[in-house]
Every structure is written in structure tokens, then in C-alpha cells.
Symmetry: C2
Subunit: 233 residues, 2 copies
């Protein structure tokens, strides 16, 4: 029965078409300013048909996030493999990862982002159960790949899985924040340099830190000593 398979394919294709139409409009007009009538027009279908492919407008949003996360995961895997094959330095690989991250974040990241709020309760967007599950699974996969990379690279201080996971979260946070800053400030016009150079700088800073090493307290023992009460040496 090749008919069923063809229909399956056509259905998937249509769903992708709608999603792309929506993404274009969200990008240019904004999520809230885009009506489903707009999406229907752009995709050259009727409004009602959208609901045969997506559960709601928000579900389209979540689907875009998922698409982005899958894209990033593939890029990440490719970057890591390539890095291992070419025996690149960890810093070089990290730079490429950061680029993938920025690539992922520019078209899709906003959606991914919104979902964090949803998870938290700000609920800009309500997520459909199945889409959320998939999204989390893909994301955890990416985090795990990163963790393995950190553990296996001799260049990092992280020795075990736990330490590596901390580093991964830190990395993720840094990339997330830096992208937001860079992109939020007019895609970098606040900075005197291009995206590539900015990423280099960030990775460099991550690797090296921002302080003159002599001044850093390397241990985090005696935590309270770090706060207000501590005088200079």
C-alpha cells in the first residue's frame, strides 16, 4: 500500500510548510501580531485546516522550538565528530559549538526560550505534553553529548561527570546569555566587532577567565569569606 505512505509524506510536508509560513510571519510581525488568518493566507490554505495539523497556535510555537533543538543537536554531533577526527583543540571545538549555538538561536531560539518561561509558570506559551516531552529528551541528549566532550577532553579542569555537568550548565548559560546580549543589542551593533569575533572573545574569556590569575581565590573553601566581610589581602 504505497498510498498510505504517500499520504503520510504529504501530510508531513504540509505540516512543515505551515510551520515555515508561521515562522516567517512570527519573525517579521511577531507572534502576537500574527493571526492564524495570516498564517493560513501565507500557507495558502484555510484557517480551519491549520487545526488538522497543529493543536493550537501555541503548539506551532512549541513545534518550532523542537525543530530548532533537533537542528542544534545534529550540528553539535557533527561538530564533535569533526573535532575528534581532526584532533582539534578543545578551544577550537568549543568555538564551533558556540557558533552552532548562535546559529540555532537566531532563527529558533526565541521559541525555545519562551518554553523555559512556560515551564516556570509565566506561561507565555502553554506546551502540549508530547511536544514538551520530545523537546526535553532532545535537549538532555545535547547536554549529555557536551558533558562527554568535557570529560574526555584533557584540556578541562573538570575531572568527573558531576564537575563536567556543572561546566556544561555554565557553558549553556553563558552562551544563552551572551547570545541574548549580542542579539538584543541590535545583532551586535553595540559591539565594535562581528559575530565571529564576538564568539571568539566569549570562548576565549570562558577558557581563561577575566581576572589576572594572581588575584583569583582558586579554592571555594570557606565560602563566607568571599562575601562582604572579607578585606583585601
Amino acid at each position: 500500500m504505497g498510498v498510505k505512505e504517500r499520504k503520510e509524506r504529504e501530510k508531513l510536508q504540509r505540516s512543515q510548510d505551515i510551520l515555515e509560513a508561521a515562522r516567517r510571519l512570527f519573525e517579521s510581525k511577531g507572534f502576537l501580531n500574527t493571526t492564524l488568518q495570516d498564517v493560513a493566507n501565507e500557507a495558502e490554505i484555510s484557517v480551519g485546516l491549520i487545526y488538522r495539523y497543529f493543536q493550537s497556535k501555541e503548539d506551532m510555537f512549541a513545534s518550532l522550538a523542537l525543530k530548532g533543538a533537533e537542528q542544534f543537536d545534529q550540528d553539535l554531533e557533527a561538530t564533535l565528530k569533526k573535532g575528534a577526527r581532526k584532533k582539534n583543540t578543545a578551544q577550537a571545538v568549543l568555538t564551533n559549538i558556540a557558533k552552532s549555538f548562535f546559529d540555532f538561536y537566531s532563527p529558533y531560539g526565541e521559541y525555545f526560550d519562551m518554553l523555559l518561561y512556560s515551564y516556570k509558570g509565566l506561561k507565555q506559551v502553554q506546551i502540549q505534553g508530547s511536544t514538551l516531552t520530545k523537546l526535553m529528551s532532545v535537549t538532555l541528549g545535547s547536554l549529555d553529548k557536551l558533558k562527554t566532550f568535557i570529560v574526555e577532553s584533557p584540556e578541562f579542569r573538570a575531572e568527573n561527570d558531576d564537575e563536567a555537568l556543572q561546566v556544561v550548565f555554565l557553558l549553556w548559560g553563558i552562551l544563552l546569555g551572551c547570545h541574548k546580549i549580542f542579539d538584543g543589542s541590535g545583532r551586535g551593533h553595540l559591539f565594535a566587532f562581528s559575530r565571529e569575533v564576538f564568539i571568539d572573545q566569549v570562548v576565549q574569556q570562558i577558557m581563561v577567565g577575566i581576572a589576572k590569575s594572581a588575584h583569583v581565590s582558586q579554592t571555594s573553601e570557606n565560602k563566607s569569606a568571599l562575601y562582604d566581610e572579607r578585606p583585601t589581602l
Copy 2:
């Protein structure tokens, strides 16, 4: 004419009351799930009256962001003054700044965040001109205070204003991203440690970097060498 002043005061008070009512509801139910009827009920007024105090629902949102930014700016100033007075190490001061940042971000930051999207065109929220102007002015003030701190502290590698500004943006990005990660992952339950320890770790990592120093390429000269094409030494 004490009457006019009293009315002035009452008006401001009322506006603050409405804003707080809105914040409580946004926090518990989410922005989109909160109706103006809800806000009106919570503030014990009628729907229409809201519009005498705010231009729109989105304007309330922006006002919350502004309130948060002002709070952070004050905290920052206090932290810097205190640090200077007590001659704390830069790392200690930075830790306190990070705490202020986290404090600021938990109740108000989400709103602040949304505005970045607005600026970009995702337009979850349209900002009223005057509120935006104020918000930008407050934020730039905070950034400038941070820059001065970086320049004047001998512990940092940044030598001049430009380098310091880069560090400031990097810091801002790191804090932003790390907060999102921490808060997004169920306020830290993914991590084995508390908010305080997490912040310490982040600041520590910022100061030190994450690599064994021997492995870091300290210069960013010959940029292209950083990418895929570069073999290990």
C-alpha cells in the same frame, strides 16, 4: 493647595497598587492567562479604571520591568559603595553583584527580558515610548557603573574603557544566562547546591575560566587558526 498634592500621592499609590496586583497575578497565572478583569478584581477597582493609570496591559508589563531595573540599579550602587568602603576583593564584590542580579531577576527580570524580544521584533510585548526610554536610561546607567568598577579594580585584565565594556557585556550575558538556566531548571533542583553556592561557582568560574591554563591559547591573534582547520599542537 494641599488637595492637589494629596491627589497626586493617591494617584501614585493607586498606580502602585494596581501594578502590584498585576505582578502577583502574572506571577501565579502567567501574563497571557491573566485577564484585566482579574487584575481589576485583585486591585478592587473596575476594568475601565485601569486605563486611567496604564496605557495598556503591555504597558503594565513594561512598567514592571522598569521597576525591576530601578531596583537593581540601586542595589548595584549600594553594593559597589559598600565594597569600596570595606575594601572587598573584586571577586567578593562581583559575587554580591551577582546576588543582586539574581534577586532582581527573580521577581522582575522576566518582564525585563520580554522587552529584549520586543526590541528585536518578536514583539511579545510592544513597549510604550516613554517607558522604554526610561528603561534604557536606567540600564545604561547600571552598565556604566559596572564598567567603572571593572576599570578601577586592579584585579581585572581589562585595561581601558573599551576592554572593560566588553567584560561588562560578557558578565551581563553570563549572569543572564546562568540565572535562566538555574531558575528554568526548577529553581536549581537540577543542581546539587543552593543558589548561594551556585552563584559562588559561577563567579569563581568567571574569574578563573574553565580550562587548565596550560591549554589555553591566550592571544586571539590569527583568528582563523581557532577554527576547524587547526590541529592540536
